[in-house]
């Protein structure tokens, strides 16, 4: 884990008064957290551009180190071109503004249920997904709006899905936590944590199968599986790390470690909180990267994705990031230390990219403002589209239960039940 832990006091060591009674119990049973908080030396060799270069060499070298070498030799020291920079900026602004709009719409009663916002973590989504081809797969969790947007799902479709309208990307049947898009190869959207990782492994397996068994030329689709720190204590994570490394599947496991699983701090839940270490245990590179810096994420993403595309196997990337809002819109977010929040707010990825673009004369204030305005208009239009879209009619109720509706069986009259007109009307009982 990085230096950040030393820069603020973790809630465990300075608990709010209401929880003080719990403290002794936890420090005895769940292992002392104190040692883990004192990261005086950077343990991981993956902090790029770190001035305190006391990086000890880990058994698996971070790819970013290798990249650093290459970059120093290139003519320009810049990581991105102007066009790339603007693309990244636009994508992150789209993610940020969209989520803010979601919050607004939620409090106005336009969307319901559990809505999990991605504010603050945009760098991870943009940094990774903008490197993918259209055919590559992305698998996400319930915090999937921005993954969908980065992958290319139009904002209006995501917004109307959130409003529960028939024009949503999943016809209103999925909702916030189940964004799917066949066209953009977004495989979900899963409500249970860890559930999407095997699906991602399957997509990667499919890609390998197409290349090796079906001998399709150019079948080198890479799958990205996004999930959080809480998931890294789940069995499915480990099982899939094993299988992916075993068969060298073209997959990248991206851990969005935002330190909190609803109200459970990562340090309280995990015996060894350094998630990147779990990669080498399974025979794949484990990388830790600053997830608040889109350029660092991008460099790591490039290497990991290209490694997968070449057929060299999976990579585990731990992105240290932070969500500025609560776990969901229903979470009052009272547990997290304000100092911690302030610390990370100061590392806002969008502000950081802006600064980089200005400092390196890649973009001007007007250009970025124009992008902001463009995105605002896009979102206004998306909300309008979602508002005006029709609600799903009754006839839609039974339509997608089965791909082959014969699966509803044969009714007492001898005909297949799906031939009953009540099915097309949605009034049949199944």
């Amino acid at each position: 884990m990085s230096l950040s832990a030393t820069k603020f006091v973790h809630p465990i060591t300075a608990p709010p008064s209401t929880r003080s009674s719990d403290k002794p119990l936890f420090s005895t049973f769940f292992g002392s957290n104190h040692t883990k908080l004192r990261f005086n030396k950077p343990i991981v060799a993956a902090q790029r551009r770190s001035s305190s270069a006391a990086s000890t060499s880990s058994p698996v070298v971070a790819v970013s180190d290798v990249v650093k070498e290459k970059k120093l030799k290139s003519a320009s020291n810049l990581l991105i071109t102007k066009e790339e920079g603007l693309v990244l900026y636009e994508d992150m602004i789209l993610g940020r503004f969209f989520e803010d709009m979601c919050a607004q719409m939620y409090y106005r009663g336009k969307m319901f249920g559990f809505v999990h916002l991605y504010n603050g973590q945009e760098a991870v989504s943009t940094g990774f997904i903008k490197f993918l081809k259209k055919e590559d797969y992305v698998v996400s969790t319930y915090r999937d709006h921005v993954h969908a947007l980065s992958k290319g799902v139009p904002a209006r479709e995501v917004m109307s899905e959130l409003f529960g309208k028939a024009t949503g990307c999943c016809r209103g049947q999925g909702g916030s936590m189940h964004m799917f898009s066949k066209q953009h190869n977004l495989l979900g959207g899963f409500a249970f944590i860890g559930e999407g990782i095997p699906v991602a492994t399957g997509a990667a397996f499919s890609s390998k199968y197409r290349r090796e068994v079906l001998k399709e030329p150019g079948a080198d689709e890479v799958t990205l599986a996004f999930f959080g720190d809480g998931t890294c204590n789940n069995g499915q994570f480990y099982e899939c790390l094993n299988m992916a490394a075993l068969w060298k599947l073209p997959i990248v496991f991206v851990v969005e470690n935002n330190l909190w699983a609803i109200g459970m701090s990562h340090l309280r839940a995990t015996s060894d909180p350094q998630i990147w270490k779990k990669g080498p245990a399974f025979g794949m590179p484990g990388i830790h990267v600053d997830g608040m810096d889109v350029l660092k994420v991008r460099e790591v993403a490039k290497e990991a994705i290209e490694r997968a595309r070449r057929g060299e196997g999976p990579t585990l990337v731990e992105c240290e990031t932070y969500r500025f809002r609560g776990h969901s819109l229903a979470d009052p977010d009272e547990l997290r230390d304000p100092a911690e929040k302030a610390h990370y707010a100061g590392r806002d990825p969008i502000t950081a990219l802006k600064k980089y673009l200005f400092d390196n004369k890649l973009a001007s204030e007007q250009e970025l403002k124009a992008i902001d305005k463009k995105i605002e208009e896009l979102l206004d239009e998306a909300v309008e589209f979602a508002d005006e879209s029709p609600l799903p009619p009754r006839s839609q109720l039974l339509e997608n239960v089965f791909a082959d509706p014969k699966g509803f069986g044969i009714g007492p009259d001898g005909k297949y039940r799906c031939e009953d007109p009540k099915f097309t009307q949605g009034t049949a009982h199944v």
Binding site: G174, P198, Y209, V213, E239, I410, P412
Partner: protein, 421 residues
């Protein structure tokens, strides 16, 4: 041949897509008589006397009339030679060949034919590859198709089932084998949340043409955990189909149908039925996933069963026939959804229903079936539906205790006698 077809009633033209157009006929014998219901499929008879086998598959439209009395007469004839007719049938055998095999071989044959037909069909599971499957269903396939197509997975049911689902979403047609159905309890998360639901929650964008299969049921003193019947746990999951095979013939047909189906299908096999021997046609055939199978037509009482209990029922049927009863035995085959047409026609004829199953008493398939029949055919029942199921007891190891948890033929006989009073 003409006489038999007249007996079949209004025969619609064979559909061009039917892969089986053989008209092999076999005389009914004292052995099991498997005749599918008139709507749809197979007339399979087995005779020891003439050593022939016949299967006729007629693609009839739903709503077809039931068999006529002359046809019933032919079916009820048993034993003895048939003279010229027998010679005729013997000639048919040369024209329409068959072969004999065991149930697990039939499953393998179905699997292999589908793998040959479609290169996207693949198998994944524990020990399916090099070991050939713990019940030898996939023996030889890894050598033929390679380690990626017949994938030996580590012991991680939840994850490799999820992997199968992900592969199905992205274009493959995987068959996931649970070494024992009970192990799929570990995969419940993926089966319930993803397998059943993803087609719906994605708004119909992704299809999941996966087949999940494996042996379940009470074996010979395998202990509680290896003797589970998972059909009751999975039946509530929306979006999946469940079928149970009981003979080599329907095992192969259902395997092929399940692989070809666009829906996720769970195929339940039974540990004790893998070594059943039967003759099946050489020609390709695919059965319907939603239809039930008429095992023995009758007049007095409808006995609904599936999987291994079919054999207990047929054993009890022998005793019942000797005592003068005429049970109609239907192998429901499709556990979800139920074939309410075949069942309904039978109930309307006999007015008495006995359900014999190996599932647990509480919340089992029999419980659902009882509810479905009561709901739809209440007026036709002369007596309450009796459901004989296994006791709500973790299957004990001791042989005697195990025997008492499962329904035995003697119980079936006494239940029928009581119902038919």
């Amino acid at each position: 041949m003409a006489t038999l077809f007249q007996g079949v009633g209004a025969v619609t033209p064979f559909s061009a897509s039917s892969s089986l157009d053989s008209n092999k006929l076999l005389l009914p014998s004292r052995k099991s008589l498997s005749i599918s219901d008139s709507r749809g499929s197979i007339f399979v008879y087995r005779s020891d006397a003439l050593n022939l086998k016949a299967a006729t598959r007629l693609q009839l439209s739903p709503g077809h009339q039931k068999r006529s009395p002359s046809e019933d007469l032919l079916l009820h004839q048993s034993r003895g030679s048939f003279g010229a007719f027998g010679l005729y049938l013997h000639c048919l055998r040369i024209a329409y060949p068959w072969h004999e095999l065991l149930l697990f071989e039939a499953l393998r044959e179905g699997l292999e034919e589908e793998m040959e037909r479609d290169p996207r069909v693949c198998v994944m599971g524990e020990d399916v590859g090099h070991y050939g499957g713990s019940y030898k269903v996939t023996k030889g396939l890894a050598e033929k198709y390679g380690d990626l197509r017949v994938l030996d997975t580590p012991i991680a049911e939840n994850s490799f089932t999820g992997m199968g689902i992900g592969a199905a979403m992205t274009g493959l047609r995987p068959i996931v084998e649970g070494m024992n159905m009970g192990f799929l309890l570990l995969a419940f998360n993926q089966i319930s949340n993803n397998c059943g639901m993803l087609h719906y929650t994605s708004g119909g964008q992704f299809t999941i043409p996966i087949v999940i299969r494996g042996p379940g049921g009470v074996g010979r003193q395998l202990g509680a955990e290896h003797s589970q019947r998972l059909e009751s746990y999975f039946q509530s999951i929306p979006g999946i189909q469940m079928v149970a095979c009981s003979t080599p013939y329907n095992a192969k047909g259902l395997m092929k149908a399940a692989i070809r189906s666009e829906n996720p299908v769970i195929l339940f096999e039974h540990v004790l039925l893998y070594n059943l021997k039967e003759r099946i046609p050489d020609e390709e055939y695919v059965l319907s996933l939603e239809e039930a199978e008429m095992v023995r037509p009758g007049e007095h009482i409808t006995i609904l069963t599936y999987s291994r209990m079919r054999y207990h029922v047929m054993q009890a049927a022998k005793t019942l026939v000797n005592k003068g009863y005429d049970p109609e035995v239907i192998d429901i085959r499709s556990l979800k959804p139920f074939d309410l047409y075949t069942i309904g026609c039978s109930v309307k004829k006999t007015h008495r229903v006995l359900i014999v199953e190996e599932c647990m008493r509480t919340g089992g398939i029999g419980a659902s079936l009882t509810a479905a029949i009561t709901e739809n055919f209440h007026d036709y029942l002369d007596a309450p539906i009796v459901c004989l199921s296994s006791q709500d007891v973790p299957t004990p190891y001791a042989g005697t205790l195990e025997e008492w948890t499962v329904v035995q033929p003697a119980q079936i006989v006494s239940a029928v006698e009581q119902l038919c009073q």
